[in-house]
């Protein structure tokens, strides 16, 4: 009996995946975004293997070497070197690690807390809902970057604290989304049925309701992932995020800002890295939204 249920749920799941992929792959740009992102992830994972130099290694005699295709450039330092003679390409490759991890952790923190609070607010209602929602309104009243700055001022500058601060500013959107979907699911027959069958509140919240609220949350998660990378870089640029010599992309731009006019490549390439990574995630997010939004599905 159990094995039959297991195979059914397995085939339903694979059916769902196939349907999802069918809609997602309609958009060529979304697939391109996904492929590029996978490339960046691989680059981050194998940073130690593929980067030509150590990110912190200083070749003092080769400071401010321009990229290979410019006059005075060397193939050894393909994207040039910074003021201390560190290889820009290696620093950017290693920076991918920090930026992607920061993005992931921010989304995981804000989504898990946000979903939990949103479920509780929608499911329980009453004063608890009011308190949660008013706290979220308060966080949203302050522009995200300012809130993050103030939080970092309290926690102290650093990559981890920057991630916590950014995660806090992202939580309200997850709470609002989860609460809204929970409220619309709450009175549907299947929820009533499992209530009648004797399911407790935890089971109702996490096993009955939550899976049916996932689509908008996945889209929101993707979009938050890209803005998290941008905000981490912005805090790094302001000197409140990752601290030098960590090669986080925003920090790279900040530490080379004084060279901006004499050695523009030290500022240009980290920015291009941020732009491309964020662009790829956003392309994928657009595709995900089209694939998961039932309103847009044409049968």
């Amino acid at each position: 009996m159990t094995s039959i249920t297991a195979t059914t749920s397995y085939s339903v799941r694979s059916q769902q995946w196939r349907e999802f992929w069918f809609y997602f792959s309609v958009s060529k740009t979304a697939v391109a975004g996904l492929v590029f992102l996978i490339g960046v992830v691989l680059m981050a994972i194998f940073a130690d293997v593929i980067s030509p130099h150590l990110p912190a290694e200083q070749y003092r005699e080769f400071a401010e070497i321009p990229p290979a295709w410019m006059e005075g450039g060397q193939m050894r330092f393909f994207l040039g070197t910074d003021y201390a003679g560190r290889d820009m390409l290696s620093r950017i490759i290693h920076g991918a690690r920090l930026s992607l991890i920061a993005g992931c952790i921010v989304v995981l923190m804000s989504a898990s807390i946000g979903i939990l609070l949103g479920l509780v607010a929608g499911f329980r209602g009453g004063w608890l809902e009011t308190v949660i929602m008013r706290i979220m309104d308060t966080i949203m009243a302050v522009p995200g970057l300012l809130m993050a700055l103030v939080l970092v001022a309290v926690l102290g500058p650093g990559l981890l604290n920057a991630m916590v601060a950014i995660a806090i500013t992202y939580t309200p959107s997850f709470v609002r989304l989860t609460r809204a979907s929970t409220l619309s699911e709450l009175n549907k027959d299947y929820v009533t049925a499992s209530k009648v069958a004797g399911a407790g509140p935890i089971r109702l919240m996490f096993i009955s309701i939550l899976p049916n609220c996932m689509a908008p949350l996945i889209v929101q998660g993707t979009l938050s992932f890209s803005t998290a990378i941008l905000d981490t870089a912005a805090l790094g640029f302001l000197g409140m995020g990752a601290q030098a010599p960590l090669p986080e992309w925003g920090t790279l731009i900040a530490e080379n800002r004084d060279l901006m006019l004499s050695a523009p490549w030290t500022v240009t390439f980290p920015g291009i890295a941020i732009l491309l990574a964020v662009l790829a995630i956003n392309l994928m997010g657009d595709g995900l939204r089209d694939a998961l939004d039932p309103k847009l599905k044409r049968s």
Partner: protein, 334 residues
């Protein structure tokens, strides 16, 4: 209408207290007590410490401190800057016009380019023009604006020598601050060329700050137009033989604007956050640069006051958007 306004204001009350709680908690949550933070590395003798604690009311119980803080805030007293020794509110409102000028220009830039771009993309749906506009807007939406600002400086200021690098006005001019809006002040001043200089200084910051709103407005206008263009009444208007321009500009656009207005309103908070980065890059003497300076110089009372005032601005704008919504869309009766 008034009932609606009253209701909306009522919702703002808990948010206002929430923000005061954040601002109040901010100073208390800083590592070490405020006096030690303020004294910095020089340190402070125990007697002086106690004296200062009493002077700032920090020896009272927390709840009492909070209530006297809210009382002060409601009377317009946001504390005194530790660096300049001036009231925080006074400093804020002195710098506010600079940020407002930049933000208004950036918003106009975004609206003037974004709405037509969105309409063109929607009308030419699926063509190369549509794909081009949407790709550009997605790139704009993904732009790290602090880097974008540096890039524009490298290109336009350093290579092409077209625009100045920083500030609001060239050193050659002395303009009296009447309104605080440099464009207006310089236009009515006797200094020849001051207006041109002010305009030149505004170009790059406006583009940098306006880029993300521009991208968002273009995207949203396109999707709102697409939705409206598939409505029956648009088909009817076309069937009646109205010119395509009239159908798009009069029949469709008005309804599409309902969504777009909300989006524009939401962008104000984005603009204020973006102003922090833009003003830092261009040394623009506004709120954003001031708050960064305050954070770094540990002028925590200035940060606290700035936080509260900026949150106040966002709340006022959101309320205004809600009210405007009713004006544009008569179907919504407050």
């Amino acid at each position: 209408m008034f009932k609606f306004l009253f209701k909306r204001l009522l919702v703002l009350v808990p948010v206002f207290f929430g923000v005061t709680l954040v601002a109040f908690g901010f100073i208390r949550a800083l590592p070490g007590d405020p006096i030690e933070v303020l004294a910095g590395e020089r340190g402070v003798s125990p007697e002086r410490h106690a004296e200062l604690m009493a002077q700032l009311g920090l020896d009272e119980p927390l709840w009492q401190q909070y209530f006297s803080y809210v009382g002060d805030v409601l009377q317009g007293d946001l504390g005194t800057s530790l660096i300049t020794n001036r009231p925080v509110a006074e400093e804020f409102f002195e710098l506010f016009p600079a940020t407002a000028e930049l933000a208004i220009c950036a918003m106009l830039f975004a609206i003037i380019l974004g709405i037509p771009a969105g309409i063109i993309a929607a009308v030419k749906r699926g063509t190369l023009v549509d794909q081009g506009i949407m790709s550009l807007s997605l790139a704009g939406y993904s732009m790290p604006i602090f880097w974008w600002g540096l890039l524009l400086i490298i290109l336009f200021s350093n290579t092409l020598h077209l625009t100045p690098v920083s500030g609001r006005l060239s050193f050659l001019f002395e303009v009296e601050h009447v309104t605080g809006f440099m464009l207006i002040d310089s236009l009515f001043s006797d200094e020849e060329g001051a207006f041109k200089s002010a305009l030149h200084h505004l170009v790059l910051p406006t583009i940098v700050l306006g880029t993300i709103p521009l991208a968002v407005i273009a995207r949203q206008t396109r999707s709102a137009m697409l939705e409206v263009l598939s409505e029956d009444y648009v088909r009817t208007a076309k069937a009646k033989g109205l010119s395509p321009l009239r159908v798009i500009a009069v029949h469709a656009l008005r309804n599409a604007m309902i969504t777009v207005t909300t989006v524009i309103g939401l962008q104000v908070a984005v603009l204020l956050a973006g102003a922090i980065l833009t003003e830092t890059i261009f040394s623009w003497p506004g709120i954003g640069k001031w708050i960064i300076f305050s954070v770094f110089s540990r002028d925590y009372y200035a940060v606290q006051g700035g936080l509260l005032l900026i949150a106040g601005c966002v709340m006022v704008v959101n309320l205004t958007v809600d009210l405007l919504y009713g004006l544009i869309n008569p179907r919504i009766v407050h």
